[in-house]
């Protein structure tokens, strides 16, 4: 009897402790989000998207260049990063399954995911910006891609390894060549996981600032030239939040709100697609 009471007490204690910590985690998230929504949403207006930067001290203006720049830089990063990550992960999980080199790459990718992003920024600065002699959007995209590749690669590897081996054998048993097995069976089976991986890795880089500081830098004007410095949302937020002007802070809040919303929406979209696929 005594023992039972003790068990129940410990059980309740553990339950309340885990509930408490769960709420603690959610609390901070909600705190940040609500702060963002209150300060950010109120500062949002159309000119934020439609107008360009104005000289410091002047009121009005927007962040059009930063939005477009962000879009261009992230898009290029995705175009570089996804294929590399996907194919690299495919090599590790499929063709190179039992080879030492694949294991080595996998371990390095693991290490890479925990490298501070500013180190990636300085690295790209050294290998691209310095030799080219100037900052460029392309260098920024490469820096983001470097961060993205290991994330994508690891997710791909893990998702493909979840596909039961027997499924591949069943396809082989019909005489299917390996590349068709991968494209038609394995990728399709792992689709939801790969999609989540893609979304996660895009979300991972969409909010990065440090790698861009040394690479794409910033630009006070709207630019479409990827060989030149380009404004990005995160760097602009960084600059505006640090600036002395009130309307800069306002815009930084608004931009933070937008970028958070973007990450949130991509994640939700991904989840919805997953749900829809399973229902079907």
């Amino acid at each position: 009897m005594n023992n039972r009471k003790k068990r129940e007490l410990i059980g309740k204690l553990f339950l309340s402790l885990s509930v408490f910590t769960a709420f603690l985690g959610i609390f901070w998230l909600l705190f940040i989000l609500s702060d963002l929504i209150i300060k950010g949403a109120s500062a949002i207006n159309w000119s934020l998207f439609s107008k360009n930067f104005v000289p410091p001290g002047l009121s009005g203006g927007g962040m059009k260049a930063a939005f477009i720049g962000q879009l261009i830089i992230v898009s290029i990063a995705v175009i570089i990063g996804i294929p590399f990550g996907l194919l690299g992960g495919t090599f590790i999980a499929e063709y190179g399954r039992n080879s030492k080199i694949a294991k080595l790459i996998s371990i390095f990718a693991d290490l890479m995911t925990s490298i501070p992003s500013i180190v990636v920024g300085t690295f790209v600065y050294a290998v691209m910006v310095k030799p080219m002699g100037h900052f460029s959007a392309l260098a920024g995209a490469v820096a983001l891609a470097v961060i993205m590749i290991p994330v994508m690669l690891k997710t791909t590897e893990n998702m493909l390894k979840l596909v039961p081996w027997s499924l591949r054998e069943a396809a082989f048993a019909l005489g299917t060549p390996y590349y068709k097995v991968i494209f038609q069976i394995v990728y399709k089976n792992a689709m939801t996981g790969l999609l989540t991986g893609t979304i996660l890795s895009v979300a991972r880089i969409a909010g990065e600032t440090a790698p861009l500081l040394f690479t794409s830098l910033n630009n006070s004007f709207l630019s479409f030239n990827i060989n030149q410095p380009m404004a990005s949302l995160t760097v602009t937020i960084y600059r505006y939040a640090m600036g002395p002007y009130d309307n800069w802070h306002q815009m930084a809040w608004a931009a933070s709100f937008v970028i958070t919303l973007f990450v949130l929406l991509t994640t939700i979209t991904g989840r919805l697609i997953i749900k829809w696929r399973y229902k079907k």
Partner: protein
């Protein structure tokens, strides 16, 4: 009778340097079911996987000897698509591909380059009929195959193998993941399929071997100990080891 579709001559098989099959000699009769039984690790599955050259997928595997399929040596053939459409395989757990029921069955046809829509449609229907699944799925051919029950999935996989009109079907413990009712359906189906194919089945279940097969072969430690007509095999085993095994003394 007397017509052998497969003749195995002096077959040895190695995983790397480890020999797992020792000098197997055996003939498989056309349009009959041959069951391969034996304790775990006896080489029966390894033996089964020689017939469609599944071992080719992994490095370091080596065959010695001959497996004559219609007098042609399988081990010397180099067209796996052709071989594997003639000798199909059904696995332990159902393996529906992540696509619709129809596409699953049509998969092997597309692989062979059959694109004519009516032909594909007809052959898919025939295969599903053959696998006794048509009645259950004819109204939802475009539904994903993953939504079928385990037993239906297994019959779908059989249909997928049947679609390419194989001469031989290899079953690797086809019912070990299924409940008794689904198992009974698969067994019935196997007996039905004898009309059009030859079946080789690996099974852990001696009752299953006794129920469905015409011939039974007992493997132990990589050697073929005894093979005979199923009836004689279970009632009058010639070998002491066979007798011990079917009496449940080891295994």
């Amino acid at each position: 009778m007397g017509d052998y579709i497969l003749k195995v001559k002096n077959l040895n098989f190695f995983y790397g340097s480890k020999q797992v099959l020792f000098n197997i000699n055996m003939n498989m009769a056309s349009n009959r079911i041959t069951a391969l039984i034996g304790p775990s690790g006896c080489g029966k599955t390894t033996f089964l996987r020689c017939f469609n050259r599944m071992h080719d997928l992994y490095k370091g595997n080596r065959y010695e000897g001959e497996i004559l399929y219609k007098e042609k040596d399988i081990l010397k053939m180099n067209d796996n698509i052709e071989l594997r459409s003639k000798i199909g395989m059904v696995f332990q757990s159902p393996t529906p591909f992540p696509m619709s029921i129809f596409d699953n069955v049509a998969y092997g046809l597309k692989l062979k380059g059959i694109k004519n829509r009516t032909e594909v449609k007809d052959r898919v229907e025939a295969a599903l009929q053959g696998a006794a699944l048509w009645q259950e799925v004819k109204d939802r051919l475009s539904a994903p195959a993953g939504g079928l029950s385990g037993g239906q999935q297994q019959r779908l996989v059989i249909a997928r193998a049947l679609a390419v009109e194989p001469d031989i079907l290899l079953f690797d413990e086809p019912t070990s993941a299924l409940d008794p009712i689904a198992t009974a359906k698969i067994e019935e189906l196997m007996i039905e399929l004898k009309k059009i194919t030859t079946i080789i089945v690996v099974t852990h279940n001696m009752q299953q071997a006794a129920r469905v097969s015409d011939y039974t072969a007992f493997f132990y430690l990589g050697e073929l100990i005894e093979t005979d007509k199923t009836e004689d095999f279970f009632t009058r085993p010639k070998n002491k080891q066979t007798e011990d095994y079917i009496r449940g003394k080891f295994g």
